[in-house]
Point group: C2
Chain length 385, copies 2
């Protein structure tokens, strides 16, 4: 595993990048152009161009959805769902995924070099939004010669991007699968993100985002921020079943502050593994974008206005034990889509695996996803005839 410093060097060799030359007006009013958008594709676009699927990644994801991530050498983040013979079958479909702007896997983000100063942006990077992310990714479709996607899918922040994508570009995808997400962040979700941000900012190494100049990372703060995430991604029951009160390779309490419990050991491991692959400033920027996301706030008529004239066919999926984006919140999106007259189905998957369910092997979820996409493919082909 390369250090964060090492990452910068050879990323450019293994990462496809589009230079987004068209000026993009960000929500913060700044205009940007000529910035990199890193992306990956899997499978092949067919002649009729009816098999393209765009995937939006979540907070700590990247463009490497399937196969092996060439940078981390680990599995792509959605190998359970995407690949040859998988629910999103790359033998049949052309899968596209871009690293969000604000991220750290090659797209324009706070660790990129600001040409004006020849230094990493750090906190000079503009505060971006989910809409900014989505608008930048839309340019990729032009680049790849795709007028209309068969489907777009994403879980968590990926789902939020997808809802934004449909609202901003109502005729760019034939179908959409927003998973475990909402049209805005609840106070609890903002609070959890703020906790992660405060953990990073509390680390003196962070130094107002200027740590990159010294080629170091605020590892302690970033690890704590990651632990917040891991607690929220599992359900209480799932965590109890996985760890309970099991001790970590010891027969009895050690009466110390070492990791006596397996769950402590798990959190420490997840926290400190994460700092090797992710930039702390990116966590600040991306969580901020999530908290700012509020689809109803963008449209005078609220959500009904946001979703009016939708041609896209939606399948919303929630997980019964997800306490970060509850079934209730997902259903609220269904209600809004219905009120706007959109074509929408809904499935709640019963599982104890919490928010993480979309990333793990959850057969009922994967079956639902596959069934929907395959049936949409038939309909889309007919429409294209």
């Amino acid at each position: 595993m390369p250090s964060i410093a090492g990452l910068f060097f050879y990323m450019s060799e293994k990462i496809k990048k589009l230079n987004v030359s068209k000026p993009l007006v960000l929500d913060c009013k700044k205009t940007v152009k000529d910035f990199p958008l890193a992306y990956e594709t899997y499978g092949n676009l067919n002649k009729n161009k009816d098999n393209a699927i765009l995937i939006f990644h979540a907070l700590t994801g990247d463009q490497f959805v399937s196969g092996t991530n060439p940078i981390t050498k680990k599995d792509g983040w959605w190998v359970t769902a995407v690949g040859p013979g998988k629910a999103i079958d790359t033998n049949k479909y052309f899968v596209i995924c871009a690293n969000v702007i604000g991220g750290c896997m090659g797209s324009w983000g706070p660790k990129e070099i600001d040409k004006n100063t020849n230094q990493a942006y750090g906190l000079n990077f503009p505060v971006i939004t989910i809409k900014d992310m989505v608008k930048s990714q839309e340019t990729l479709l032009d680049h790849l010669g795709i007028d209309k996607l068969l489907c777009a899918a994403g879980g968590s922040m990926g789902g939020m991007q997808l809802l934004q994508f449909c609202a901003t570009f109502p005729n760019k995808t034939f179908s959409a699968v927003p998973i475990a997400c909402s049209t805005n962040h609840s106070a609890q979700n903002i609070a959890l993100n703020e906790l992660a941000r405060q953990a990073i900012m509390a680390d003196p190494v962070w130094d107002n985002g200027k740590y990159l100049k010294k080629n170091i990372q605020p590892k302690n703060g970033l690890a704590v921020a990651r632990m917040v995430g891991h607690i929220s991604y599992l359900s209480e029951k799932g965590m109890q079943e996985k760890f309970g009160r099991k001790l970590q390779e010891k027969a009895d309490y050690e009466f110390s502050f070492d990791a006596d419990f397996q769950v402590e050991s798990y959190l420490r491991h997840q926290g400190f593994a994460f700092v090797e692959r992710f930039d702390a400033n990116s966590i600040l920027y991306i969580t901020r974008a999530m908290d700012y996301f509020d689809l109803s706030r963008q449209f005078k008529g609220g959500l009904v206005e946001a979703f009016k004239n939708q041609k896209t066919k939606f399948l919303i999926i929630s997980f019964s034990s997800d306490w970060l984006y509850t079934t209730k919140e997902n259903k609220d999106t269904v209600i809004a889509l219905n009120s706007a007259g959109a074509d929408v189905s809904f499935a709640e998957i019963k599982t104890d695996k919490g928010h993480d369910s979309f990333l793990v092997n959850e057969p009922e979820f994967l079956k639902t996803l596959k069934g929907f996409i395959d049936s949409m493919h038939i309909k889309f082909k007919n429409e294209k005839k």
Copy 2:
């Protein structure tokens, strides 16, 4: 508000202390004696000594249950329930509360001076348990000349101490009200405590607990630890009703990392107010004691053995929206007490206020508490006749 350094100086003048001279064998096998136990009392013990109520405090509480805390100059932590004319009426009852060992309001804890080194203990303080806390507090009853309490009550860690107290001293209280607690910590609760500990330990100022020598506090880490607590003490719904997506004294997003949302401002305020009144090492020690607490582990026959031969009459109270100590966990305690043949009632209070419900003005809860204690008083007086 005095600084943490200031606290040390004048604490001794305003704090009643018992010197615990009897040797106490801690669970970690160390034996200690001649250590201070700080406590406070409210009301008067009557002639028949049938009106004494012992209150156990929670993680960040102290002995100042009612009235004004003489150190912080703020309300005592349980003024909603304890005071003249309140549910626990100090005109009628003699209320006692001690600061737990491991704490920082005058009882023996990591910020006290180790006579062997003439320095604050820091991490040289032994890892203590809920049982150690309870055994040290039992000595206070002898000191005050109380053979048997009318009642003992406590919420959260206070409830855990109370369950331990009843298991260790089965005939020391006529009645008991464990509120919003459990007989052991779930994996999720351990995880949240570990998150708080890691936030403190991530702060370089913490310096392996040796910060007191420099008369400073790891404020950043401690503030983040406190934010974890505040998120877990509120329910998702309660937080949504209280804060929602309301902005903090501004009309629009500022596209910065300042506190745009009220919930962010609330968390920052709570975090940074806390560092003025609490010692970071105490958080480590007390959360560790909570995580180690496992009543069934102490008895070969498990919980049934723990609660056998109970003469105490129990009322267990849970709150419907408490996700830290759920109604299910509280009911598990009821089931164990029933299986052991104990006299036990149970009440779930319907509320959106989450775990914090026992600390706020929750009329149904306070009515239930008052009704139980007053009826126990009549029974206890009859028994004493």
